[in-house]
């Protein structure tokens, strides 16, 4: 097939042209907006991920131009590739909405809902998903599944009770690190992420399991209980790192860098994986070249925390680049005074 061949697809009635081999989910991401199915396990940077959580189910109402028959079941949009002439329904299909509601409910019945004490709260995909697609009440009246918290290494904590078994951290270990020491053990609803016998996950890229985890199951111990994410201010920065790209987001509270993460795109996926030195060991402003404030989605709770209202963070006051970016707000703030 010639390289410039494009498939015409429509998602919720919106047409888009994509290269053959593109998945429905990625075609939807090209369109953007409300019609993008949510994804809890798929991760474009991790090969083989996806298909498991079932939140991205969509209806294929027309298979292709050649074979217009609809697909008999809802399909996982993250793992189904488009065909020329395919018509997909996401939010325009009541069947999809109903199924997604069911999946969200299933994901939540054994989730502890301990958001008030969870470091992930505010940037948790399950929280967003539950808010957008879930029910206000639960119909589950039984005891929830619990596990003990485990430290896997001195920097990462595994809180299995919150895990939704997306397998992303397993893919990270397989694809980014030399030897995988953790995996999914047991089966069914007794399955768990574990090392079996206590072992530290210890290599330069292991910290990325924190960033790919869609919930608060794998969290940064150096940030543990330090602050709520919506009280911290994300700032983009880089350093000359011998191991990784060195491109990160610094999360400030006042003058202090509370945590370092990789930069995440609008779907919560990291742009480039970072090394543990960048993540855990370099936490003073002097380690970094500050680029500017991190753009945060307007709908995110983190954006409640604007950069330049009446009290910009200390780092903004000292940094020329940040002052430049926030110029407009500074002026507005001056007028208000």
């Amino acid at each position: 097939m010639a390289e410039d061949v494009k498939f015409k697809v429509s998602i919720d009635g919106i047409p888009v042209e994509v290269a053959p081999g593109t998945t429905i989910l990625n075609a939807a991401r090209l369109i953007g907006g409300d019609i993008v199915p949510p994804a809890m396990c798929y991760y474009s940077k991790l090969q083989g991920s996806g298909g498991k959580c079932r939140t991205c189910l969509v209806k294929v109402s027309k298979g292709s131009e050649k074979d217009p028959r609809p697909m008999p079941k809802l399909v996982a949009s993250c793992r189904t590739t488009v065909m020329d002439g395919m018509e997909v329904q996401n939010i325009t299909s009541p069947e999809v909405i109903e199924a997604r509601k069911g999946v969200v409910e299933m994901l939540l019945i054994n989730h502890p809902l301990d958001c008030p004490i969870c470091d992930q709260a505010g940037e948790c995909h399950l929280q967003d998903l539950g808010y957008e697609h879930g029910l206000a009440n639960t119909r589950y009246e039984f005891e929830r599944r619990t596990f003990d918290k485990i430290d896997i290494g001195d920097k990462v904590q595994l809180h299995m009770t919150r895990c939704i078994l997306c397998y992303r951290c397993v893919f990270v270990a397989d694809q980014l690190t030399p030897r995988r020491v953790h995996g999914v053990l047991g089966r069914g609803d007794a399955a768990e992420i574990s090392t079996y016998i206590e072992k530290a996950i210890d290599n330069e890229f292991s910290g990325n399991v924190i960033d790919v985890c869609p919930v608060g199951a794998l969290t940064d111990k150096t940030f543990r209980f330090k602050n709520r994410v919506w009280f911290t201010k994300p700032v983009e920065a880089h350093r000359d790192c011998p191991t990784c790209s060195g491109k990160v987001t610094l999360w400030y509270k006042g003058e202090e860098v509370l945590r370092v993460t990789a930069r995440k795109d609008e779907y919560g996926e990291v742009e480039e994986f970072i090394c543990n030195t960048c993540r855990f060991e370099t936490k003073s402003t002097s380690d970094w070249v500050i680029e500017g404030p991190r753009n945060v989605k307007r709908t995110s709770v983190i954006s409640l925390n604007h950069y330049a209202e009446l009290n910009p963070p200390a780092v903004v006051k000292k940094n020329l680049a940040l002052q430049e970016t926030n110029k407009e707000q500074f002026e507005r703030a001056k007028e208000l005074l």
Binding site: R179, R180, V181, H182, G183, L185, G186, R187, T195, Y196
Partner: protein, 173 residues
């Protein structure tokens, strides 16, 4: 059966290793991981259960990571991750067997052996547990005993008693 304490490293005998080699030869070059399940069965038949060191040795033999062995061993229900009785009785507890009295048989075994499901009798001879369908529904209730997985069919309280007595005798001799 040998019993292995948790942290003793496990070295397989020449005989076991030659069995492993025979199994690995069934798969294409580089696909030796396929041998994992049959090899674990061999190990369990020798030691009675799968200790972490035994699994580590299997991983080393097959040139895979230990976690890959743990993942598999914890997925499949036939593999014991704790020491069992010399005779581990596994009674089918699924629908068709229950229609013909499997629940009664399990209660009887519990009473007769005096230990709960999953526990080992003080003399170390017996342990028992309910397992899901053993594909012998027409001959239920049934139980099986590893490592040969001999089947005992159409169980009654009397036949279970007799079986336990026979096994106790066999263990003595």
């Amino acid at each position: 059966m040998l019993s292995v304490k948790h942290n003793e490293p496990v070295e397989f005998t020449e005989e076991t290793l030659s069995k492993f080699a025979e199994i690995v030869a069934r798969y294409p070059e580089g696909k030796q991981k396929s041998a994992l399940l049959p090899v674990l069965h061999e190990v369990q038949a020798t030691y009675g259960w799968l200790s972490a060191p035994a699994m580590d040795s299997v991983a080393a033999y097959l040139n895979i990571e230990p976690i890959e062995v743990y993942e598999v061993a914890t997925f499949y229900t036939m593999f014991f991750l704790q020491p069992q009785g010399k005779y581990a009785l596994e009674v089918c507890r699924t629908g068709p067997c229950c229609l013909v009295g499997a629940e009664r048989i399990m209660k009887h075994i519990e009473k007769r052996l005096g230990v709960k499901e999953g526990e080992v009798t003080p003399d170390g001879l017996f342990s028992w547990r309910g397992v899901e369908c053993l594909a012998a529904c027409g001959y239920g209730p049934v139980l099986q005993i590893g490592p040969e997985y001999t089947f005992y069919e159409n169980l009654t309280e009397e036949s279970v008693d007799k079986l336990i007595e026979e096994l106790t005798e066999k263990a003595k001799s």
